[in-house]
């Protein structure tokens, strides 16, 4: 198992380097110059401008600049935001907990809905429950998240007035009341993200369980006289979960992408909305750093998916 993890790590690192290279080359290829504004500023004489360019190494070849950027990132110097005037790593650290909370809760909700529904639908294929579940799943992942978000805001915040629709990280309350306020404001974004994921997970769980449930060892377990619940939970679900868990881990980067939209609708101060505001404000260091964070998340979750897959199915780790 240790060798398997090591092998996967060794493959993951070049991927991360490759992604960061692509990001950096994209940014280097883009037209536009960080010192473009200075060129039109008459207070700065041309010699000073040339000296600035040499000092910051803007005209060095791309590869040199990439190595310099990579070394700086690895040392923890993530740059200084143009518009927010604080260090980029501080900015990101402020925002990450909120995003992690919303995304994590939505995945837990998605699994809590998808697993029982998918397993039960697979136990009775083509029944009424199965057909309704299938149709609802289709509807679920055909509805774009921004539409469901807007609908929920319309129903719950505007018409019924039950839930707030602006997410606040500075709720002035303590104890029980604070938890209740947090819960009320988090319920809609978590529901939007979670139910969208649940729709696609349900179909996947259903097909995974259907593949397992007609295998011989399940028939053996039943004929041994085991209670049906035990057969399902101990034998079927544990084996059907293997591809599902990999799917969940592989979907995490897409969920973070989906969180970008949800954060915009519900005004949640997370990394996603940081990316959007940075793009609209032309704040390049923040854009680079946030995109790099997303790329790291992708690689980390791919690695996690490989490790969990190897742990759940010992046959894989022997390859």
């Amino acid at each position: 198992m240790g060798k398997y993890i090591l092998r996967r790590l060794i493959i993951a690192l070049p991927s991360l380097l490759g992604i960061s290279l692509i990001l950096f080359v994209l940014l280097a290829l883009a037209p536009g110059d960080p010192f473009g504004e200075l060129a039109t500023n008459t207070n700065i004489p041309p010699e000073v401008r040339a000296a600035l360019r040499v000092k910051f190494g803007i005209d060095d070849p791309v590869f040199v600049r990439y190595v310099r950027w990579l070394v700086a990132m690895l040392q923890g110097d993530w740059g200084f935001s143009f518009s927010s005037r604080i260090n980029v790593d501080q900015l990101i650290l402020q925002r990450v907990p909120t995003t992690l909370f919303v995304v994590g809760s939505s995945q837990i909700l998605a699994l809590a809905v998808a697993l029982p529904v998918g397993v039960y639908a697979a136990m009775r294929p083509y029944s009424i429950f199965d057909q309704i579940a299938n149709t609802l799943a289709f509807v679920g992942f055909s509805l774009p998240t921004f539409f469901t978000g807007l609908l929920l805001i319309l129903i719950f915040s505007v018409n019924l007035g039950w839930l707030p629709f602006v997410y606040r990280t500075d709720i002035a309350a303590t104890g029980w009341h604070w938890y209740w306020e947090n819960f009320k404001q988090a319920i809609m974004p978590v529901a939007v993200l979670g139910l969208f994921q649940a729709a696609s997970y349900t179909r996947y769980v259903r097909s995974a369980v259907l593949d397992v449930i007609r295998l011989d060892y399940v028939t053996t377990a039943r004929s041994k006289g085991l209670h049906e619940g035990k057969v399902i939970v101990k034998h079927v679900v544990r084996n059907a979960l293997i591809p599902v868990v990999t799917l969940v881990a592989l979907q995490m980067p897409a969920v973070f992408g989906g969180a970008i939209v949800t954060e915009q609708i519900f005004r949640i101060p997370g990394i996603g909305s940081l990316l959007i505001t940075a793009i609209l404000a032309n704040d390049t260091p923040v854009i680079m750093a946030v995109t790099f964070v997303f790329a790291c998340l992708v690689v980390v979750f791919n690695l996690l998916a490989d490790i969990i897959y190897g742990w759940l199915d010992p046959r894989i780790s022997y390859r």
């Binding site: 991927s15 994209l26 289709f138 774009p144 807007l150």
Partner: protein, 275 residues
């Protein structure tokens, strides 16, 4: 369900293509006396905050949204089939390199990179080919550029299994060159899963374009794509819900229909039927 979806999709497509010829209200006729009116006979979908007729705007925007969807799918399928075919027919280092590139692209975070590329290259393309065409090309290339990887893997898997079959061996014995083998024998037989992936790609491309417009980073603001309509409508939810509802329902119905069609195609083309 799939047949019903084909009907729905045909209705939507013909409405979008032929509609502006029948409903000749201009899309940018500003009429402040009719701001935010609910659906009526004069404006079947109501009006937006500038008094522009929503039905006309939705029909016009529908053309663009559907065009982006189909064009992005075409890009993804052409690129994916090409790479998958080359990778599948040649063994060894070419295959390994191409698969490594595919894995690298699969590891890229889609939405952030989409936003990044559009942010970086939008002005450049705008100066080169004009605002709408430039953004259209950019969005189609970028969305298609993120969806070719699953197609490439599918095509490669099909190639790897098909190239051992007897009819390929027979063709090669008759003296067929490799390109002829690929184009006339293997490729036509491997397109089944590709078609299914294509339909899913159209749905995903439509959603991606709507998401971009919704975030304010898609087409220029005066072009009423469905995502843009939702973006404009979200500030008027309490007083004019019909605006957001119609635009969102259009996206929803199109994507739902395409998903059902894809599922039906998969059931029809997949020999393994669950009993």
């Amino acid at each position: 369900m799939a047949v019903a979806s084909v009907v729905i999709l045909t209705v939507l497509t013909s409405a979008v293509v032929l509609g502006p010829l029948i409903w000749r209200v201009p899309i940018n006729e500003i009429d402040f006396t009719a701001r935010l009116t609910s659906p009526s006979w004069q404006h079947p979908f109501g009006t937006d905050d500038l008094g522009q007729d929503l039905l006309a705007r939705m029909l016009y925007g529908g053309r663009i949204s559907l065009a982006v969807g189909f064009a992005a799918m075409a890009v993804a399928i052409v690129a994916g089939t090409l790479i998958g075919a080359i990778s599948g027919i040649s063994r060894g280092s070419v295959d390994a390199v191409l698969m490594w590139v595919t894995d690298l692209f699969l590891a890229l975070p889609q939405l952030p990179l989409l936003l990044l590329v559009i942010y970086l290259f939008r002005d450049f393309l705008k100066n080169w080919v004009g605002p709408e065409a430039g953004v259209f090309i950019l969005i189609v290339m970028v969305i298609g550029g993120f969806r070719w990887m699953p197609v490439a893997r599918l095509v490669r898997a099909q190639f790897l299994s098909l190239r051992e079959k007897e009819f390929v061996e027979a063709a090669r014995a008759l003296g067929a060159t490799t390109p002829r083998l690929v184009i006339r024998h293997i490729l036509p037989n491997s397109l089944g899963p590709v078609i299914v992936a294509g339909t899913i790609d159209v749905a995903a491309a439509i959603i991606a374009e709507s998401t971009l417009s919704f975030l304010g980073l898609g087409f220029p603001p005066d072009i009423p794509t469905w995502g843009r309509l939702l973006f404009d409508a979200k500030d008027y939810l309490d007083i004019a819900p019909h605006w957001a509802l119609f635009a969102g329902a259009a996206i929803f119905l199109t994507v739902l229909a395409i998903n059902f069609i894809g599922d039906g195609l998969r059931d029809a083309l997949d020999p393994r039927k669950v009993m």
